[in-house]
């Protein structure tokens, strides 16, 4: 079926024969950038949005405070084992967690990650008006990490918090695409959910049932 390509492309070209030279122009990139104002006020907005999605959010002073807050969150959810993404902030916070069984996700076989209670990920970007975080996973283990464990923790610096999904907020995705990074850039907004049964909301569909985002002022 090597000629399927030629047949499809020929059919497309032929179908568009009437348009040639009269196509709609490429529209300029629509950038609805908003002046977010004070970043800490934005963090409050982020927290409101994420809480409405049944997630948890905290703004902390530094990495140490972050590790402490994460620890409390994990104890509250009876977490014992944590698998960490191979990203610097996540690794640093993980190294300061005590009383938990912490492993690098990449050290485990991806299917073994099913047995971990919690994932610890890094946000490359945070979007205040939707309470969402952008995570970039470029290897097999980091890719399954956001979905398999029952609880998920995402840590990110206040400096990567944006008001809305404008072009600058997805710069991390654009850069990853430009350098031909493998894997996936994931925007995640709260714990997984479904309303497929009678439109009744249920959390923890296939992905995590609990999600905590920790925003670090001086990461």
């Amino acid at each position: 079926m090597t000629d399927a390509r030629e047949r499809v492309l020929a059919a497309v070209s032929q179908a568009l024969a009437d348009v040639r030279g009269r196509e709609h122009p490429l529209p300029p990139v629509l950038d609805l950038a908003k002046d977010g104002g004070d970043r800490e006020a934005l963090a409050e907005r982020f927290a409101i949005e994420l809480t409405a999605l049944a997630g948890t959010c905290a703004l902390v002073a530094d990495n140490r405070a972050c590790a402490a807050a994460v620890g409390d969150f994990l104890r509250g959810r009876a977490v014992q084992s944590v698998a960490v993404q191979s990203r610097p902030l996540a690794q640093d916070i993980a190294s300061q967690l005590s009383g938990f069984d912490v492993t690098n996700a990449t050290a485990a076989d991806k299917t073994a990650l099913e047995s971990y209670d919690c994932s610890l990920l890094q946000a490359e970007s945070l979007l205040a008006d939707t309470g969402s975080a952008i995570v970039i996973a470029d290897n097999a283990s980091d890719r399954v990490l956001p979905y398999l464990p029952r609880t998920s923790v995402i840590v990110g610096g206040l400096s990567v918090l944006h008001a809305t999904m404008d072009v600058s907020s997805i710069a991390c995705i654009q850069q990853a695409a430009a350098r031909r990074a493998p894997g996936e850039a994931l925007i995640v907004a709260g714990p997984s959910r479904t309303a497929d049964i009678e439109k009744t909301l249920v959390l923890g569909a296939h992905g995590p049932q609990g999600l905590g985002v920790f925003i670090v002022k001086n990461a």
Partner: protein, 469 residues
């Protein structure tokens, strides 16, 4: 393809579902449960609330314009997408027909010795009847989206683009799980979800291949965006060693920077959320992973070739038009007899599945236009429907015999004042007879069964005006 007349009045067993004749009948017995209207009214209200917080009109105009450009430059953009996708470790395969699409998938399964496939939600896989073909080849398809999982267990087809199991009550689901999974009966949605989650965990971990649809394919970078709430799409694509994307040619958008426009209108139209829980941007094949993208035409180039129907390719499959359609709410998804229901289904099915199967769908509408108001990419859906009605007439497809003859006759009578007046006299006599015997033939009978028939005025306006002068 010659139609098998022996099946003319029977429900077809193949994936295409009901044939034209049955489609008309299905709408004459609308039987969607009342709860569907309430559910969808709620969805529409949520969507409207969600849109109040964004520049809705600016975004939908932008979405429309980006799609217009993309569709008109589809040949060059498809080639660019293929180049960029391949540069990041993926393999693009092409399919002109549904059959070729299935064959490509089966070949990939064979190559990688796949025994079971975990599936994220994909309308296109429904359209191609992927599950049936996999089963015939001895490969087990496992639907992972909760709604799709439920209808798969029930042996049914999905009834709505976004909520496949909306036609089932929680009690129905409890019974289905009890019978098919052997679990203890429960109708608590949370417990039902947990049962599904546990059951599916194993399936993700053992599957040889994950199959997902595509929401948007970016030509500039070969990036594919897939959007979902449950996480099953993420698991289906990240756990198994092989991942296959199944995509229609129309999913292309030009630039990565165009994605935010679509992401912002999609959730707010589909579910009334501000954003869905997971927006995956597949960048490239990571070490140890094999990734394919099967690009399928399956009659989309026919929609493309007609400048009038081209706009229907802008659709981003949000389901908003279904949610607001008074016909969909009352008849439900199954009445449409195919993969795509609601106004968009009526707009594309006659071309994708053929006039024989779906040519009646554009007629099952009052052309009220509520769908056009909701559409995040501003497709003029009523225009699509009335244009397809015209195409049906050109193709010699009868509306219905009596009505057909009636309309043609009446239109001719309207061409001169004298024939108009003769028609009015005829109408007066027929109405008098009808009133006298209390019965009206044909289409008037269909009116009179539920509604009183207005009397023909003794003095028409023309007569009144003439007497004045």
């Amino acid at each position: 393809m010659a139609r098998d007349i022996s099946n003319a009045n029977r429900r077809s067993n193949d994936s295409e579902g009901l044939i034209a004749h049955d489609v008309a009948r299905a709408f004459q017995r609308p039987d969607a449960p009342q709860v569907l209207t309430q559910t969808l009214e709620h969805s529409v209200d949520n969507a409207h609330r969600a849109r109040e917080q964004i520049e809705w009109q600016a975004l939908r105009s932008a979405a429309h314009d980006i799609k217009a450009y993309a569709i008109e430059n589809l040949d060059s953009l498809l080639v660019e997408f293929e180049r960029q996708f391949a540069a990041r470790g993926g393999t693009v395969v092409w399919a002109q027909t549904a059959g070729e699409g299935v064959a490509q998938l089966l070949e990939i399964c064979r190559r990688h010795d796949v025994r079971s496939v975990v599936k994220g939600k994909s309308m296109l896989s429904e359209e191609l009847a992927v599950n049936e073909h996999l089963e015939s080849a001895g490969i087990e398809p496992v639907e992972t989206d909760l709604g799709e999982f439920i209808v798969q267990l029930a042996g049914q087809r999905p009834s709505h683009i976004v909520g496949p199991a909306l036609h089932l009550s929680r009690q129905d689901v409890g019974t289905i799980f009890q019978r098919r999974l052997g679990t203890e009966y429960t109708d608590d949605p949370e417990q039902l979800m947990t049962l599904a989650r546990v059951r599916l965990r194993k399936r993700y971990l053992e599957a040889g291949l994950g199959l997902t649809g595509v929401n948007f394919a970016v030509a500039e970078t070969g990036t594919i965006a897939v959007i979902e709430n449950e996480g099953n799409g993420g698991l289906s694509s990240s756990v198994p060693p092989v991942h296959v994307f199944l995509m229609g040619i129309e999913k292309i958008i030009p630039r990565l920077a165009d994605l935010p426009v679509f992401l912002q209108v999609l959730a707010r139209s589909a579910t009334g959320q501000k954003i869905e829980v997971y927006t995956h941007h597949f960048l490239g094949a990571e070490p140890g992973k094999t990734v394919y993208c099967i690009i399928v035409d399956a009659n989309r180039t026919k929609l493309l070739a007609d400048p009038q129907t081209r706009e229907s390719l802008y659709c981003i499959r949000c389901g908003a038009c279904l949610n607001v359609c008074p016909v969909y709410r009352r008849a439900g998804g199954f009445a449409y007899g195919g993969t795509y229901g609601g106004p968009i289904g009526a707009a594309i099915a006659p071309t994708l599945s053929g006039m024989d199967r779906a040519g009646e769908l554009p007629f099952v509408s009052t052309l009220c236009g509520a769908c056009r108001d909701e559409c995040p990419v501003k497709i003029d859906l009523p225009h699509q429907l009335v244009y397809l009605r015209h195409q049906a007439i050109l193709a010699g497809r009868p509306n219905s015999r009596a009505l057909e003859t009636g309309i043609a006759m009446w239109a001719r009578a309207m061409q001169t004042l004298s024939s108009y007046r003769r028609s009015v006299s005829w109408l007066r006599r027929a109405a008098a007879v009808g009133r006298a015997i209390g019965w009206y033939p044909g289409v008037l009978g269909a009116w009179a069964k539920f509604r009183t028939v207005p009397p023909v005025a003794r003095v028409s306006f023309k007569e009144w005006w003439e007497r004045r002068s």
